[in-house]
Amino acid sequence: MNKHFVSAFVTGLIFGIGLLVSGMANPDKVLSFLDIAGAWDPSLAFVMGGAIAVGAIAFTFIKGRTHSLWGEPLRLPGKKDLDKRLIMGSLGFGIGWGLAGFCPGPALVAFGTGAPKAIVFVAAMIAGMAIYEVIEKSRTKAVN
């Protein structure tokens, strides 16, 4: 099997284990972080801090290159403008995140535990992504 596929699987696995170790796969803990007016649990700031510290080294190293160490073309987002989609989408995401304590990565890990509530959340999330695709399709059709 192609090594890129192996690395994709291993990356997903390490990411998932990291989420479990960090406590982010537990919605109760995520909501305690988002509840700054209550008994605040600042742990998740440490998750972000640790992840960004390591990530920054890699992204600094790769900066200015066109290909990965394995010769794959680098696929970095090219958009630069702070448009309405970015801001409204992100504000909307925060609302959904605050309602249940799940963001996409931890939801997939929780799905993997077989917890019925996590399975329902992931199904709804994928349905939401599908709704987005349908809206986008009709939007581009309307433009053309």
């Binding site: 990356t11 700054i36 989408g89 609302i95 993997g112």
Partner: protein, 144 residues
């Protein structure tokens, strides 16, 4: 603001964060891609030739993380307080808006901030803000 020291887990969260950072670093250095969960999952809904397997394997790695974890230790606590209707609403919102805003906690929050992308910094501030506000409204104004 009071800090809940009994549930504060700085070291576990920092270590988990470092693992997440390692995963993000591996993916950009080897595969040349951003480890953004909503984008990787959402891309599976509009499948393009040659663009399916790596996505599916990455997601499989995340979903299998709890199974890998169980080989060595019992799973950490996971408490999902949200009701089923709320989980469905939250899941739909997270699905639609992460695609609309081009990313979530991983793509914008970890990878985007690691590479100092202005779009991702704005997106992260936006979803953190609305996450804090949502939890504040639910827990302290509505009292759910």
């Amino acid at each position: 603001m009071t800090i809940d020291l009994s549930s504060f887990t700085p070291w576990a969260s920092l270590s988990g964060g470092v693992l997440i950072g390692i995963a993000a670093a591996m993916f950009i250095l080897l595969n040349g891609r951003i480890a953004g969960i909503s984008g990787i999952l959402g891309g599976l809904l509009t499948p393009q030739k040659g663009d399916i397997l790596w996505r599916a394997l990455f997601i499989a790695g995340m979903v299998l993380a709890p199974a890998a974890w169980l080989l060595t230790a019992p799973l950490p606590d996971m408490q999902i307080d949200a009701s089923y209707p709320l989980l469905i609403i939250a899941g739909l919102i997270v699905g639609i808006s992460t695609r609309y805003g081009s990313g979530c906690t991983s793509g914008h929050g970890v990878c985007g901030i690691s590479r100092l992308s202005p779009r991702s910094i704005v997106a992260t501030l936006a979803f953190m803000f609305s996450g804090f506000v949502t939890v504040y409204i639910i827990r302290h104004l509505v009292g759910m």
